[in-house]
Amino acid sequence: MKPSHEPGRMLVVDDNRVNRLLLTRALEQNGHVVATADDGKMAMEMLRASPFDVILLDIDMPVMNGFEVLEALLKDDDLRDLPVVMTSASDELDRVVKCIEMGAEDYLVKPLNPVLLRARVNASLEKKRLRDQQRKLFRTFATPQVAEQLLREGFSLGGKYVTASVMFADIRSFTTLSENQEPSETIELLNDYFALMFDPITGNHGTVNQMEGDGMMAIFGAPVFHEDHRAQAVRAGLEMIEMLETFNEQRVLQGKGRIEIGIGIATGRVISGYTGTQNRATYTCVGDTVNVAARIENHTKVAGKPILIDQYTREGLPDSMGVEDLGELVFKGKQQPIRVFSVQV
């Protein structure tokens, strides 16, 4: 890969004014945009306020020293991957080693050698750009949660058992709807619809892992576990219905017909993991719970209720979420009856 000579946004953190000036000057000569902080606390405030590409960090500082900054960065999801180049005196290499162990990318010895400065800063910048690209790519094709997991744990096929809530959502009588309008209108409707439904799901820590035709499948509680994934799934469902109502009001104003959706949620053990090949894989869940969720969703048409859930999902809901017991139902292909509840919207 070609080394990058694009300017980066640098943050120089040093309590010594001469050092700050020198570093700033050297970086600016290389075309970078530089901001400075006098100590670690100020640096953290600046890092949280605006984006930077590389930090040049002194170890010895009052208020908050370099070690403390590294610790704070590690704890911050947004800043964890930001490359840090330590700047230190030649007689404190033992402390630099500790910094590298704590996650610093590289180091520079003061007084500065401009050639080394350029090489190390550009290398860090290149790494940062690669990581950003990777993250962007992952986010385009996967959900933020899956992207984060991939970035953190790397990629491996194979699955594990987890307890999760699975949601299916479908547009009702979509076939009739699409027969009565132009294909381009159908695609536009689907795009608008999916765009609207994503927010309630991701906003409640869910992962949309399948979109097919007018249907979508989402998982709550995996790949990242959340204690109250059942309530999160139902909350997402309620917000989806709300969103749809606003969407329908707009459609009516435009002289178009309303659309209705059905949502089914079931909770239980699923096998979650990546399926596919090393080159193309998706995060998914399989198992009986997935089938139950699909069957329950299908039943919304019969029941005339927008959101149906199974008993195990219901047990995870707070009292504030009202449900109506629809009794036990036997679904096609299932031996055991399943008790179904309708969520009040």
Partner: protein, 112 residues
């Protein structure tokens, strides 16, 4: 030992440019007295960590400009601070003050 190592200073000047080296010297002339005050008051209040940090800063700047004698003296004091042996500073502080003074004078002359 010369007060300012000409080779180091020339390299610094080449790297930073004529105009900027003046700004850099000005900054040091501004900051050096403050750092000395910090060293002195940290010694007075027996604050080994502040003592170490101020000596470290002086050392760092001295090395940047090639003021090697000042750098050596500051480095010794930094070590005393680090090892919590402030009682042994003695007349090394006076030597440091003199080294700062002569480094500052020399640097004033090197401004263009």
């Amino acid at each position: 030992m010369p007060v300012i190592d000409q080779k180091i200073f020339a390299d610094l000047k080449q790297m930073s440019g004529e105009e900027f080296i003046n700004e850099l010297i000005e900054t040091f002339l501004d900051d050096a007295p403050n750092l000395l005050t910090e060293v002195r008051s940290a010694l007075g209040s027996k604050d080994a960590d502040s003592f170490r940090r101020a000596a470290h800063s002086l050392k760092s700047n001295a090395m940047t400009f090639g003021a090697m004698k000042l750098a050596d003296l500051a480095k010794d004091l930094e070590r005393l601070g680090k090892e919590n042996r402030l009682a042994q500073v003695g007349d090394q502080l006076t030597a440091l003050e003199e080294a700062v003074k002569s480094a500052c004078e020399e640097l004033k002359g090197l401004k263009s």
